[in-house]
Amino acid sequence: MSEAIIRAKNVNKTYGRVKAVKNLNFEVPPATCFGFLGPNGAGKTTVMKILYGKANPDRTHDTEISVFGYDPRYEELQIKTLSGVVPQEDNLDSELNVIQNLKIFGRFYQITGKTAQQRIDYLLNFMELSEKKKAKIRELSGGMKRRLIIARALLNNPRLLILDEPTTGLDPQVRQLIWDKLRNLKKEGVSILLTTHYMEEAFQLSDSIIIMHKGEKILEGNPRELLKRHIEPHVLEVIDKTSVEKLERFAPDGNFRKEESRERILYYSRSVSLLQKMAEELAAGEYYLRQVNLEDLFLKATGRELNELQ
């Protein structure tokens, strides 16, 4: 495997009394998609910001950060020349139309005139926005705005694309479209760094994920392998707590792990037949038997309680 394009060692960030990021270490290999998962307030956005110089990490002597060999604390310009950033909030110029937004942003990279025109045409076509060329920003849907911001981040042909919750609040069609585009970019050799709290998104796109909680890395690895290693493959969700009594006779067997979540009880097990047997005791609408997904792992790792930022 070739050398990592991002290397972060012992990254810390404190806001007032809150430790937003604690002793974070990770490496991102080239042309992969690397995902940061975590509830709101886990420190995902802060990590992204530190990588392109939008936030300063704490001054601890053993902190090392390198993006393409550059340190974001001193060489943010080089990093931003090689990277495209899609921030969490839409920040297009609403006074201008689609093309004007891109043209003005091209200036920052010294992409002007014919080169700019060609690049913009290509990107609008790529993000399926060609018909909206002349549209005002106010006339665009949430999904179109997001796609336009992604197009804007791609203006300089970046080697790294940093996306902070790229599909939050978008409908399934647009999410699928954005995922397809991101996969295409990865094939072209662009490395992708994304934060999300959609498990599905992380699972679909990422070669590697980090699950963060309260500023700390809890788990890291390939999503499929993480599931294999850290959680039972099947789960029986009992939707109403009161019907659990019918399952008590299975308790001594102990071949499952029971988790409570407000009104629901979840039985995790390696044996699908055991869960099926348990399910037979319940009425059709009382349970849901399924394979585990990243969400189960995520909740197992980060807990089911809400924090003050959620």
Partner: protein, 289 residues
Amino acid sequence: MSSSRKSTTRQAHRSQKNLPSAERELRSGSKHRTHPPLWNRIFSVWYRHVRVYSKNLISNGFPPFLEPLIFLAGIGLGLGNYIEQMKGFPYLQFLSSGLLVSTAMFTAAFECSFGTFIRLEFDKVYDGMLSAPITANNLLIGEMLWAGTKGFFFTIPVMIVVSSFRILPVGRVMLAPVVGFLTGTMFAAFSLFVTSFVKTINHFNFYFTGFISPMFFFSGIVFPVDNLPSFIRPLAELLPLTHPVRISRSVCLNTVSLPLFFTDLLYIAVFTFFFGLFAVKRLKRRLIN
């Protein structure tokens, strides 16, 4: 940039020779791979503001034409009838030579208080801009130059009005936009400094009612500051607007005293530099956090 950092950058450049070819191409391959030069970084911030502003040119640019007309008509013609002369000049002349710079102050103060705050907190425009290869310093210097440019252009309508009514000689009024630019950057620097303290947008009301509006009256635009009571005079001399007003007036009325001219210019330069510096230092902490 410190010398040690410079040398590490140099080392980084040298070590690129030993990198695998793909990585080398990635770092410096096409001409866009080295980061844009300083002038382009500041220029693109300025350019963004010009484009967004000029999108609504009529509604943005018409009031500055009307304002001096209204003021000259109301105060100049009305009040001016009762005041024969002010410091040896017809009142309309006296007033117009000061009004030339006040619009620059107002536009720059608005731009770098309400405007900056909205871009910073509501529209998140700066977050978008800072994802491009520019630094927070570049961004803020671009803001000040943009406000200076607005000061330059906002002086032009006043200039056209006062010269077409033959209140002031055309040749001398031509220099006013340059003073407008200086006034604009000066108040941009100070307003950015004020903005760096502001947590909610309503706080700007204090700035405008408590500082900007009184300054209009105590900086020698409507009456000369030397007639103020002796205990207020030094205060009027401290006010930033007093100095560009004196420059504009002395140029327009051909009463330039070189020592005073250069003192005023020095005041403007020092004021702009220091408040600009403090503003950048403080706002940077809000932009890069």
